[in-house]
């Protein structure tokens, strides 16, 4: 399968990339790891007029400790996050999530900034970003995760705006992310995350709507002293997932409840 023709340019700095995006106009896309974009282009579900390759911007690939925060350069690959001693210590849920994305080959290429900008409802990092109140930094501003994932594949990013960094709080208490799938390298049919933080629980859900979901009703029930099993019944409150070949809406809601319960119980 051959993608439609497009113009291509390499950027060596964020400024240059932004200028190139401006020049190419609305139909240009940023090429980071390419592991969502290129498959879509091969199927011609995406036909960008131009690609701005940011893989040469070396100073976008880093993990930095910054007090009570961890800063991830947008080009940080999943494999780097998976193996990072700092992440394993300060934000272990993210290292575990990274280690379960795709397969070795995918993790060698895919980037955290790319996953955020792509805003696939089945993406795993967005769930963690939302539930932990992470921030998405661009070349123009800082956007809270709750304001970033607007809709399916939809973010507030302007045409010449580039994600440069994701900022997560340190969270090294009990945690668990469970991804329900048929095959090891698949996307989550439904995913559930639990993280104990500042004495309370954060609960997040993947692929149960057009954006990641923070299950606040579950968090509140746990706060009031409900057992995991009781609290998890609220995981499907207000959800309206669409059905697909792999799961009906009812089944996804069932999975949200069951996986939430397991995530809380297995958090370690």
């Amino acid at each position: 399968m051959i993608p439609a023709a497009f113009e291509y340019a390499r950027a060596s700095s964020v400024e240059e990339a932004s200028k190139l995006l401006k020049t190419f106009g609305e139909d240009a896309k940023v090429l980071a790891g390419g592991h969502s974009l290129i498959p879509l282009m091969r199927l011609r579900l995406a036909q960008p007029k131009a690609l701005v390759d940011i893989n040469g911007i070396k100073d976008l690939d880093y993990i930095k400790e910054d007090g009570s925060k961890l800063r991830f350069g947008a080009l940080t690959r999943h494999v780097t996050i998976e193996n990072s001693a700092v992440v394993k210590q300060k934000l272990p849920i993210l290292a575990e999530v990274a280690s379960e994305i795709g397969d070795n080959q995918v993790r060698n290429m895919g980037t955290i900034g790319g996953v955020a900008a792509h805003a696939d409802a089945a993406g795993d990092y967005p769930t963690i970003a939302l539930m932990l109140d992470a921030e998405i930094v661009t070349n123009q501003r800082t956007i809270a995760a709750k304001d970033f994932f607007k809709d399916l594949f939809t973010t507030p990013l302007a045409a010449d705006e580039i994600v440069t960094e994701l900022v997560f709080p340190v969270a090294n208490g009990p945690h668990k992310y469970i991804k329900f799938r048929r095959r090891l390298f698949d996307w989550a049919i439904v995913g559930a995350a639990a993280q104990k933080m500042n004495g309370g629980w954060r609960i997040g859900l993947t692929n149960v709507g057009t954006t990641p979901v923070r299950a606040t009703a579950v968090e509140e029930a746990l706060h009031k002293g409900a057992k995991p099993e009781e609290a998890a019944q609220h995981a499907s409150d207000g959800l309206n997932p669409s059905g697909d070949l792999r799961a009906s809406p009812e089944y996804k809601k069932h999975l949200a409840r069951v996986l939430t319960k397991r995530a809380i119980e297995q958090a370690g």
Partner: protein, 171 residues
């Protein structure tokens, strides 16, 4: 519009003018002329097109040739040295790690990456390390055995030259 791409493939320099939409796997097969890298699913799942890009396993159907500018690429054709099979190739032969062979180049390149990161993997680590590669003939038992055998040869044969390894195999 065409773009100039310079790469090193299995140690040899190559320069081509390519369309930006040319996938790396097509570049290797059609421009460089190395057809050992196979196209299986064309949907980034099967791993038949796996090669090493600067030492890292990558699905070459999910990268554009223009992205390989200045990179070192290793394909299955770069594994044997001076007529002596790479220990992974020999192990796939010895342990019957293949039937039709279509997926084999991808498995060998993915396994080469795995062993570069983890020279003595457990069976679980091998299975996990090869999760991005699909085989539709054999199942994975003999593939896992092949990688285990290669890990042993590569770990235990550090002091041996390729010729000595070949002599051991012939014996």
């Amino acid at each position: 519009m065409k773009h100039k791409v310079s790469t090193t493939v299995n140690g040899s320099r190559h320069e081509h003018e390519v369309e930006s939409r040319l996938l790396l796997v097509h570049y290797l097969r059609d421009e460089v002329g190395l057809t050992g890298t196979h196209i299986g699913c064309d949907t980034s799942q099967c791993g038949a097109c796996t090669i090493l890009v600067d030492g890292k396993a990558v699905k070459s159907c999910t990268m554009f040739a223009v992205q390989a500018e200045g990179k070192e690429l290793t394909t299955i054709e770069g594994m044997a040295k001076d007529g002596v099979l790479h220990p992974l190739q020999q192990a796939f032969w010895d342990e019957h790690g293949l039937q039709c062979g279509y997926c084999t180049p991808g498995f060998i390149m993915a396994a080469a990456y795995l062993l570069s990161q983890n020279p003595n993997p457990t069976e679980d680590e091998i299975r996990r390390g090869l999760e991005g590669n699909l085989c539709r003939c054999t199942g994975y038992v003999n593939i896992v055995k092949s990688v285990q055998a290669a890990a042993k040869t590569m770990g235990g044969a550090k002091a041996k030259t390729g010729e000595q390894q070949a002599a051991t195999r012939r014996a």
